[in-house]
Amino acid sequence: MAENVRDEMAEKAQFYPGETKIAENRRKYMDPTQELKRLREIPDEDIVRLLGHREPGEEYPSVHPPLEEMEEPECPIRELVEPTEGAKAGDRIRYIQFTDSVYFAPIHPYIRARMYMWRYRGVDTGTLSGRQIIEVRERDLEKISKELLETEIFDPARTGVRGATVHGHSLRLDENGLMFDALRRYRLNEETGEVEYVKDQVGVELDEPIPVGKPADEDELKERTTIYRIDGVPYREDEELIQVVQRIHELRTLAGYRPDEAEGK
């Protein structure tokens, strides 16, 4: 349905301004018509273990009966909005939260938020500097998490799955290139060259490590990243983006102060 609505929109969604590779990546990740490139396979069971909300194979705990068994009141919104599979089943709302390093992580907080809002339904997302959470009905969350972990927007060294004690995004990298994690939820397996989680997202130890793939090299990260940096693509060079932000600021200022002057600007 969301796709139809977009098709009927008078204006074509531009997703994000900017004339650099970084802006292009931002647009790409937000644009739901662009398929994210799959870089690794993580078994469904491992994703469930990493999330730590239920045991693999366990029934989804529910907070209400399936919608079809509930006598819901007549409501035009209910008729208009198709429930997600998790909502239909009455699943709990659970979360996955990421920390993205400032050192060329593939995606980072506000771009994540906008990507989530463009691509997924039934999500509630919160954005901070050091972490970015998405809360969803549990079975929907597992599907979304799989995409978030297996595709190009995840890098095992520069992206962390962290429910608590999240700091690391702004710290220098460890000697092996991994982002700092005070709870040491993951480690670099020297033999396989892969990063593997030894704790779930809140730091509870796992019975078996979960491999999440090899870290990308620096050049590849610079190609995939949404982060402007002075040692990559400097923000200063994206004049279009800066001008758009300045314009938004000017219009907001005028709208509060002299709305008449904002007309036509």
């Binding site: 400032v102 771009i111 901070l128 002075i230 200063r236 800066i242 600021h249 000017e250």
Partner: protein, 553 residues
């Protein structure tokens, strides 16, 4: 762009970390946890003793998150050579910080002219410089806890209230000449000539008394106690000094004048949802805080330092004490607040902005228009963000996005204020900086941090009732500012930046500016950051101690 060696933060970064500040990698997990910190070791030792003596578990750094998996970095207090541990900057661990707030809270200014008119016209008493001096001597006996009217009265040990006294401010230079030096805050002596002229003109011939209530009373009672305590002792001292009847109706005029008509509190009363009386931090407007800080009279040619000292004072008062304790409690807010007054990072950005606007526009010479806001705020924001990118040690120092957002926006707002001499334009520059930062770095602060910055532009130029105020008169209780850290002290700094650029002796109230120039205050308001460093080193001597009435250790 300033060269690497000129960066003001370089010394701090080299001291904090063993690696070159430009290195992207380091090592972790091998620092020995919390034991790497001398302060944490001291805390643990004390806590173990307390737990053993009392039988209840106490502080234990092995509980919760594993502290010290990375370097527990020291902090250089900006504008000083002093390096301290972060813990030493929590206000509970820092006596200077406590005293800064004590000295603001316990200050009340009361006009004397109404009382003098009542004495002269209604009671037929003569008011002369001599009688004013006699009154002041009486007040300096009564205010710390001396009895003046009843003959059988308990009194307060002067050793507990040594910091309590009263002085006089006036712009009437003839009268000032005749006031006993012990009671006069001498504007001509304390301020550079140009500033003294402004202050004397603004105050005019009126006479004010500045009262400092005992610090210990502020600790036990609250800010609203201060003007009541002052009013009671003022009324008693008038009765005593001018030999008038304690019970006659005219006395109520002294009380009314002292409590209402002529009183100037440092903080306004707060509404029920924040439920505090007068003289509490949430009621101190930005312009009043800027006037408390005295850097302008000591460093009149250094507007950056003038603004930075206000920001340091404001971050401590508004973020650490008000939001971090009155409104929430605990330890988290110190980490946000210290970013603006440690390691000279904000200093570097503010001086960069000052140089930029001096070269391009001249101090306070640009029109406060959108083109100037856009130019200056954009340049300073980009410079600030680039320093975090160029120096990973700086990024790690300000490891929270709110810290970086506050620092970059403060530098931008101050720089616009330097260029225009206009605080409203300055705060508009702050909001542009926040939007630029958010899109550039793709992250800003925590959920609540960003909130006011998304909508701030829309109210930044409004001065109509219920929509806005001049920035000088906004404060922590301004609706959009009431809930979050990393903004309030910086806004006070933007106010100060505008007035420093203009060469103004004061921002809002000349009386407040003069009252805090008083050298007998316990806290030295000329350089708050230096005082904080002294407090961190445990070298600051505060007031309000109880040693003389408790068993000796």
């Amino acid at each position: 762009m300033a060269e690497k060696e000129e960066k003001l933060f370089m010394k701090a970064l080299k001291e904090k970390f063993e690696e070159d500040p430009e290195d992207v990698t380091t090592h972790f997990y091998d620092y020995g946890g919390w034991k790497q910190s001398e302060r944490k070791r001291e805390f643990k030792e004390w806590a173990d003793k307390i737990a053993e003596e009392r039988g209840i578990p106490h502080y234990n750094p092995d509980i919760g998150v594993p502290l010290g998996q990375r370097k527990l970095m020291p902090y250089q207090v900006s504008g000083t050579d002093v390096f301290v541990e972060g813990d030493d900057l929590h206000f509970v661990n820092n006596a200077a910080m406590q005293q800064m707030w004590d000295d603001i809270r316990r200050t009340v200014i009361v006009g004397m002219d109404t009382a003098h008119r009542v004495l002269e016209r209604r009671l037929g008493k003569e008011v002369t410089p001599e009688t004013i001096n006699e009154y002041m001597e009486t007040l300096n006996h009564a205010l710390p806890g001396g009895a003046v009217v009843q003959e059988h009265m308990v009194e307060i040990h002067p050793g507990l209230t040594w910091d309590c006294y009263a002085k006089i401010i006036t712009g009437d230079l003839e009268l000032a000449d005749e006031i006993d030096d012990r009671f006069l805050i001498d504007i001509e002596k304390l301020f550079p000539e140009e500033q003294a002229e402004q202050l004397i003109k603004a105050i005019g011939d009126r006479v004010y008394q500045v009262l400092r209530m005992p610090t210990i009373v502020g600790h036990i009672c609250d800010g609203a106690t201060m003007y009541r305590w002052a009013a009671m002792q003022i009324a008693m001292s008038f009765i005593c000094a001018y030999k008038i009847a304690a019970g006659e109706a005219a006395v109520s005029d002294f009380a009314y004048a002292s409590k209402h008509a002529e009183v100037i509190n440092m903080g306004e009363m707060l509404p029920a949802r924040r439920a505090r009386g007068e003289n509490e931090p949430g009621g101190v407007p930005f312009g009043i805080l800027a006037d408390c800080v005295q850097t302008m009279r000591k460093y009149p040619d250094d507007p950056a330092k003038v603004a930075l000292e206000v920001i340091g004072a404001g971050a401590m008062l508004y973020d650490q004490i008000w939001l971090g304790s009155y409104m929430s409690g605990g330890v988290g807010f110190t980490q946000y607040a210290t970013a603006v007054y440690t390691d000279n990072i904000l200093d570097d950005y503010v001086y960069y902005g000052l140089d930029y606007v001096e070269d391009k526009y001249g101090l306070a010479e640009a029109d406060p228009d959108m083109e100037v806001v856009k130019d200056v705020a954009t340049e300073v924001t980009l410079y600030g963000l680039e320093q975090y990118e160029r120096y990973p040690a700086a990024m790690e120092t300000h490891f929270g996005g709110s810290q970086r957002a506050a620092v970059v926006a403060a530098a931008s707002g101050c720089s616009v204020a330097f260029a225009t001499g206009h605080s409203q334009a300055g705060v508009n520059g702050w909001y542009l900086s926040q939007l630029l930062h958010k899109e550039g770095h793709g992250r800003l602060g925590f959920y609540g941090y960003d909130l006011q910055d998304q909508c701030g532009a829309a109210n930044s130029l409004s001065v109509r009732s219920d929509e806005g105020l001049p920035l000088e008169l906004r404060g922590p209780n301004y609706p959009n500012y009431a809930m979050n850290v990393g903004h309030l002290g910086e806004y006070a700094g933007i106010v100060q930046a505008a007035h420093a650029a203009r060469g103004d002796a004061f921002c809002v109230n000349p009386l407040v500016k003069v009252a805090f120039a008083d050298p007998d205050l316990v806290f030295d308001f000329t350089e708050p950051r230096k005082e904080f460093a002294k407090g961190a080193l445990r070298e600051f001597e505060p007031a309000g101690e109880r040693d003389i009435i408790i068993p000796a250790e």
